[in-house]
């Protein structure tokens, strides 16, 4: 019996249960997979006693060919057949030696690293959390020390970096913060007017927009936008520097890394984000005014009058204070997560995600705390 599988492989059944596999031409990535399948099928269907791989006509052999030989040997052994090679030329012998065939057994690749059990996992997570906490405390300490240093030696602030950071955090964010503020004011005025109109209380749309924005939404929305824009940028910048050993280089050059990298970002954020929130508030009021004038037949004068009447200086200053605090949290988390990055490109992504998520969470958390405090003391 002779069975041609492909151009480069022919099966021949010689008497007394010997099956010859005559290879011809190239035994490479293109041909090996098909040969493996065909020879498998043949051996499974009519198991021979002996399998002979005849390599005398091959012109090229590489590790895909070696794989084919190994698989054939294994499946033959599984059927109780012996395996031998014939016609191994010097070239083929060199390749077989290169890949240690047939001596080495690679069917058992290195064991996967053991997955930790539940208990070990919990322990590891706990230790990680504690280490994270320790890192945070150390970071707080180093930032505080840096702040004292900068207060005593104001000239050591890196003005150039700070200004650049201020531009990136503040000026560049102005269009998007203003636009979102305007749309928010528009939406609030529009939604509330539907209810208030029923009572003829159109004018209170102005109070609602002004109070809601200045006290709560202005700071929060601005902070969330800045967390997404700048918090992520801080984290990815520092994480990439950490991975490229730039941070180590700064450290060994004797720089205070906190002062060099963190201080400009924190100063920039704390100065610029409150300003951004003022713009968000102004544009929200403008949005409300647009709805008031166009849909509710209010005059612009009456609307603004009502706005100023509803706001107190305390609302304004407290909103600003909150925003500054949120800005501190954002810059803080951005830098902290950046410094915690370890590993490859993936770590930069992880640091960025973590920075944004932690910032937003902390912003909301602190806003609730402020709301409660205000309730008791206000």
């Amino acid at each position: 019996m002779s069975d041609k599988i492909s151009e480069c492989c022919r099966l021949e059944d010689v008497a007394d249960g010997e099956r010859r596999i005559r290879f011809k031409g190239k035994l490479d990535v293109k041909n090996a997979p098909a040969i493996i399948r065909a020879v498998f099928a043949s051996i499974e269907k009519h198991p021979p006693l002996r399998v002979i791989a005849d390599l005398s006509d091959i012109s090229y052999l590489d590790d895909f060919g070696v794989l084919a030989l190994d698989r054939i040997r294994k499946v033959a052994a599984g059927k109780g057949a012996s395996f031998a090679m014939e016609g191994v030329g010097p070239k083929a012998a060199e390749i077989l030696a290169l890949f240690n065939f047939p001596d080495s057994d690679k069917s058992q690749p290195a064991a996967k690293r053991p997955e930790p059990g539940l208990l070990v996992g919990i322990g590891k997570a706990t230790i990680d959390q504690l280490l994270d906490l320790r890192f945070q405390v150390a970071f707080v300490g180093s930032v505080l020390l840096c702040c004292f240093h900068l207060i005593i030696h104001p000239r050591s602030i890196r003005i150039g970096d700070t200004v650049k950071s201020m531009k990136k955090t503040g000026v560049d964010a102005l269009p998007i913060v203003s636009l979102i503020g305007f749309l928010l004011g528009l939406i609030m005025a529009f939604m509330s007017s539907v209810q208030l109109r029923q009572f003829g209380a159109n004018i209170y749309v102005a109070s609602l927009v002004a109070l809601a924005m200045v006290r709560e939404l202005g700071p929060i929305i601005t902070a969330i936008i800045v967390a997404g824009r700048s918090g992520s940028a801080f984290a990815s910048e520092i994480a990439a520097m950490k991975i490229a050993e730039e941070v180590d280089a700064l450290y060994t050059m004797g720089f205070d890394v906190t002062r060099f990298l963190v201080a400009p970002k924190i100063i920039a954020a704390v100065l610029m984000v409150p300003l951004l929130s003022i713009f968000a508030n102004l544009f929200a009021i403008l949005g409300g005014l647009t709805v008031g004038v166009l849909m509710l037949d209010l005059t612009a004068g009456a609307y603004m009058d009502q706005t100023f009447k509803s706001l107190t200086p305390f609302d304004f200053w407290f909103g600003l204070f909150k925003t500054a605090f949120f800005a501190l949290v954002i810059a803080w988390m951005g830098c902290l997560r950046g410094f915690q990055a370890r590993g490859g490109a993936e770590a930069v992504g992880r640091a960025t995600t973590s920075a944004v998520v932690s910032s937003i969470f902390l912003i909301i958390l602190w806003d609730s705390i402020f709301a409660v405090l205000l309730q008791y003391w206000g």
């Binding site: 895909f64 290169l98 690749p109 290195a110 590993g343 490859g344 490109a345």
Partner: protein
């Protein structure tokens, strides 16, 4: 010439944007040879390599591989060209989120119909070939620079391409590891007949590996020597070339061109 030219570079002006770092470069790479592109730092070696594999389009001129223009040719033939080459990048180019085994298995999984255990066997063979047995499940960030290069080599030759490109395969490695990588390159070239195009400035590697080199120069913006490195070291008419091969620093004034 009886040898078969796999890659032909013709009148190439190389560089990024408008400014050419290399002008009017022409040479051929023959099937089965180890071809080295050398020259001092900043002379455009790596840029030339990137032009050869079609990563950046040349300012003018052409690169043809297998008779098809790498840049101007259609997408299909370029993809076919990519299937026939492997590239080892300077720092390995391993995907940092995957283990070494996953990195090497990636092209095999994508382009063949093999089963999982068969791919595992192949990956084990390749990692053993580059002496990384036992590091299958390590991440690139957990191994040294030399190991990254060797793993990068295992991945570059995952599908046993006909041409392997190396961008500084031994730069920054200790002499022993460098010699091991050189041996590996020779072994693969000899046993699988793979054509090798290597960018390097390591003299030991150059003398050990290459029968034919081209030398680039920053000031001349082109090839200043071509041929057997041993011959060029002793008999080149160009002093820059002789000095390079003999590791003699240039004095400031006669940086290039003074023959004799």
């Amino acid at each position: 010439m009886t040898e078969h030219a796999l890659i032909k570079v013709k009148d190439l002006f190389a560089g990024y944007g408008e400014q050419a770092i290399l002008e009017n470069v022409s040479f051929e790479v023959y099937a089965g040879e180890i071809f080295i592109i050398l020259g001092g730092s900043g002379c455009g070696k790596s840029t030339l390599l990137k032009h050869m594999i079609g990563l950046i389009p040349p300012i003018s001129g052409s690169v043809t591989a297998y008779g098809v223009d790498v840049i101007q040719g259609d997408q299909g033939s370029y993809r076919k060209f990519l299937r026939n080459i492997g590239v080892l990048y300077q720092s390995g180019g391993l995907l940092s989120s995957m283990t070494l085994a996953e990195n090497v298995a990636l092209p095999i999984e994508e382009y063949t119909e093999l089963r999982k255990e068969e791919i595992e066997y192949l990956v084990a063979m390749k990692l053993e070939l580059v002496d990384l047995k036992g590091f299958e499940h390590h991440l690139p960030s957990e191994i040294s620079g030399g190991m990254k290069k060797r793993a990068g080599l295992a991945r570059a030759m995952a599908l046993n391409p006909e041409i392997l490109f190396f961008d500084e395969p031994t730069a920054g490695l200790d002499p022993i590891t460098s010699a091991e990588i050189d041996e590996l390159i020779l072994k693969i070239n000899r046993s699988l007949g793979t054509t090798m195009v290597i960018v390097t400035h390591e003299l030991q590697s150059i003398f050990h590996l290459a029968k034919r080199v081209i030398m680039l120069d920053k000031t001349a913006k082109g090839i200043i020597a071509e041929g057997d490195p041993h011959y060029l070291r002793d008999h080149s008419g160009n002093r820059t070339v002789r000095n390079f091969f003999n590791r003699i620093p240039m004095s400031g004034q006669t940086r290039y061109g003074s023959k004799g």
